[in-house]
Symmetry: D2
Subunit: 305 residues, 4 copies
């Protein structure tokens, strides 16, 4: 791990790419081939790099045509069929593509990541190896006051420079102290790695190989590229969105329109829209929605009271 930066240097990667170059008759995504093995930076020390993939937009179409046979005959075009599948939540053909990523991220991000269970994962183990001294320290623009209203997120109120610097100093000091003690217990006191690492904070970086099918990847992206997700995991999700765009350009577009940027409209909300389209004036009072739901509803459609 210590020579990871060497392993990931442009020269080494180009060499790996050259050595591995060979012929294949498998479905191949040309834009994806261009970026394989090349790390894309995320946060202060993290990265994502695509290691392997299976399938292209055409593979989704092919699997759908096996299922639906005559039923897909009318939709001649790949784009039309992929849009149809996405719109109608016919999810199984999207499972026919697979991607493998190498990701470096702070442990608290990894903890959110691993909640997505339908995926394969090999994470670097601190029982077997010594961790490097790399900790996530947020940028000043990301520091913010805990909102009293939104229990989950942060308020829009950012800190002044002095205040922010005080926080950054604590974060850095704390990481530094923890790592010094970790090294001391390992090197001078011969404590086992599996116990010494318990004092390391969840801001320390870890690494993993992560493999997931396209259907589950899109579910991950829907949740983790969303504004309710914590900023740090969102940075990773946004990079994966860019990778997806190169890998499967048609699916990417369909995903954004029909899933990522789509809205789930409850039965009650749909009935309200119908009434409004017929010219009825709807307020919270005659909507039968709770206050919270009314706020959500009006926000979706830019409705002003």
């Amino acid at each position: 791990m210590n020579n990871l930066s060497a392993e990931l240097s442009e020269a080494t990667i180009n060499q790996v790419r050259e050595e591995l170059q060979s012929k294949t008759v498998r479905a191949t995504s040309p834009e994806m081939e261009e970026i394989l093995y090349k790390p894309i930076s995320v946060l202060d020390h993290g990265f994502i790099r695509a290691i392997d993939y299976m399938g292209t937009d055409a593979s989704i179409v092919q699997a759908a045509r096996v299922s639906y046979g005559a039923g897909t005959r009318k939709i001649q075009e790949d784009r039309g069929l992929i849009n149809y599948l996405m719109r109608h939540h016919h999810t199984t053909p999207f499972e026919m593509c697979e991607i493998k990523l190498h990701i470096k991220m702070p442990i608290f991000v990894a903890r959110q990541w691993m909640r997505h269970r339908t995926a394969s994962l090999n994470e670097h183990s601190a029982r077997y190896s010594v961790l490097s001294s790399e900790f996530y320290i947020p940028e000043v623009s990301q520091l913010a006051k805990q909102s009293d209203i939104n229990k989950q997120g942060k308020s829009s109120a950012e800190f002044d420079r002095n205040h922010a610097n005080e926080i950054l100093k604590i974060l850095e000091q704390s990481s530094h102290n923890a790592y010094e003690r970790y090294s001391h217990m390992l090197d001078d006191l011969s404590l086992t790695r599996e116990l010494a690492r318990t004092i390391l904070p969840i801001s320390i970086y870890t690494e993993m190989y992560w493999k997931i099918d396209l259907h589950n990847l899109m579910h991950f992206l829907k949740l983790r590229a969303d504004s309710h997700a914590q900023y740090e995991i969102r940075c990773y999700a946004n990079v994966i969105l860019e990778i997806l765009k190169k890998w499967l350009p048609i699916t990417y577009e369909a995903f954004v329109n029909y899933q990522k940027e789509a809205t789930s409209l409850s039965k009650k909300n749909r009935e309200l829209i119908k009434r409004m389209l017929k010219g009825e004036k709807i307020t919270q009072e005659n909507s039968e929605l709770s206050k919270g739901e009314w706020l959500e509803f009006t926000a979706i459609f830019d409705i002003k009271d």
Copy 2:
């Protein structure tokens, strides 16, 4: 479906292989490349063909080294590490490979197949398309009286030729009748496909794309290439074993030794072996095993009472 035989002709497949040929920097398995898209016959009308794959033996090693880091340093060689992983049931690196197959099989085989849930699948739907008139009729050598002892398997007493021919005639007649009625209800009576197909027997052939990771594939093979599995699904499992051998030769060998041909030895059985190795004479009476378990135990080690 109707022109499937054309689609799967040698000429068409060679053309597809030529058109798809391109360069890749992904891990590539040369022997696997040779067989991609080419159907391998199974039973009377079935086949399996590999459509795509992700990963090679080296990909498993790579994923393991991410996890265990320093812990794998001593095992220099890929074969040694793969054997170690297989022997110690470190299963996650094996999830890092994936395979996609196109399979044609009778419905009763598909029903056993689909019990393996950790896989992706697109099956041809008889709601959307008309099925072809292809039914599984066993070979004479597979017909046998229901064993009185083993409720699951076949007795060794095979049938005489006349007896067998009578059965074959019924199987063929029955399929033929069902298909005629199916066509009649569709073509002359305009019944919906989804209802007309309900009279078709489970010996009719269906098709699917099936994608699974290597760990779950090996679990499938352990169960379905086993002598307790029904003969017909075993034929398919054996073909997949041959594909696995080409795809991942090192893993294949480790799988056969440590998983497929391995035996689970209960605590009690292990203690018996220890006593026997020390020279003690063990019989069912002093073994504390039930009769059934004693028979299984002695069979494993060719022990004669």
Copy 3:
């Protein structure tokens, strides 16, 4: 299996219920307790009966409060919190409830059922037991012409009585013939059960124990109680909806409003609604939707061109 009707008689079930009656400190759903073990008829020979359950509406709330802690303090009421979770797709607390059902259904329904992989299942095996002579024969009202437009479903055109009777006669005759040959091969020709059963049609009834968590159950219901699902599996889904209503009345209501009867609105569709609410006149031409998508969009909101 042959004495299943005896096993499922009211007297036997009442006896089982009496024998099993005991005290528990587990979360208990009173209305659900009333119906445990009692079969509810579906189709001509099928049934569903609830065998066991884990959790109540309160269990979902309890699990959510573990996760969100202070974040759920403001939502005092169980109903409010369950609505919130359902609306925002916070799905994990719904996994904390579990149900086990005993279901008898035709094989073609079982085949659709088993596509839902995140569930546990023990199905009656025709390799080990002889199947009973029970086949699904649709009611006349369900017979319909294959639609030329909707490749999947049926047209609204029903058959006249004579036409329908001709179809029914074929369905009955075909089942009868198949079962006679099956019995003959088993009883007179001593063919193995595993081969004899291959001539049985997919309309024959099978049985299973099926266990699934609430989150996955709701996903099943969303897909299978939908108008695009085949009529026969929809009948089963509708019975399960009734069971859900008794088991978890608050969750049931939230599910119907926010999931089952909800609509997914694509980004483009949402923008159209916004423009319409601002008074703009939208037609297919200025909507940038394909014809198919425009029809779907206008159907959702009863929009007339």
Copy 4:
């Protein structure tokens, strides 16, 4: 969280148990009922308590009889059938039982725990709530030098008291410092909880509700009650073993004999045993095993060179 100790007091739990007491016709495990909701201590601040369960030993038998029908008739007794299922890896009937636990454990234990993906989980979120100041500090007996041989485990050489005390002081000091900074950033600097918590070490305690089926629970126990698992998670696994024994006494015994304490014997190893039982003298040289494998083999059967 702050009043968790109050919530888990004997008086409160007895009150909860009394309030929830009701009649049920569900399968009930009397010994399991006795311990529901009662926390069992693990490590210095952790606990496990059973919250709910579904099924008993009889439920496994019932599900197996649905599948195998006539095939299970000869095995009259529940114990015999459960032993048979366990011995032959017929795993699906074991999925028919389910358990829900409330667990408090350090984050580094939770991280190992969550690698078991086929389970449901609601973990306390540090984005929504402030964490309590509870950190895992090992007992002196658990401190040990990093073994040079076994990269994963602990050397037998324990530390002298002074050395151990120095380590304990560092662990305590480090936790204390981290928590003080965390509180300071939250209370005095108003930093968001989601960022403030990033400096907390992985020794801090977290809590979760965890629900899993019996088959996957046994897999968890096989791996995590094993001597290769880290000591801390083993403590939890051992408590769950005790719970399993109360819940499903017959299954527990079968599990210990056929799974937990069983050995997987490779094809090569089995052949060696056969040769040894026939009186042949086997050494590493004529065994064709690698040195590592030979050591493992001889250790299993107490074979001395």
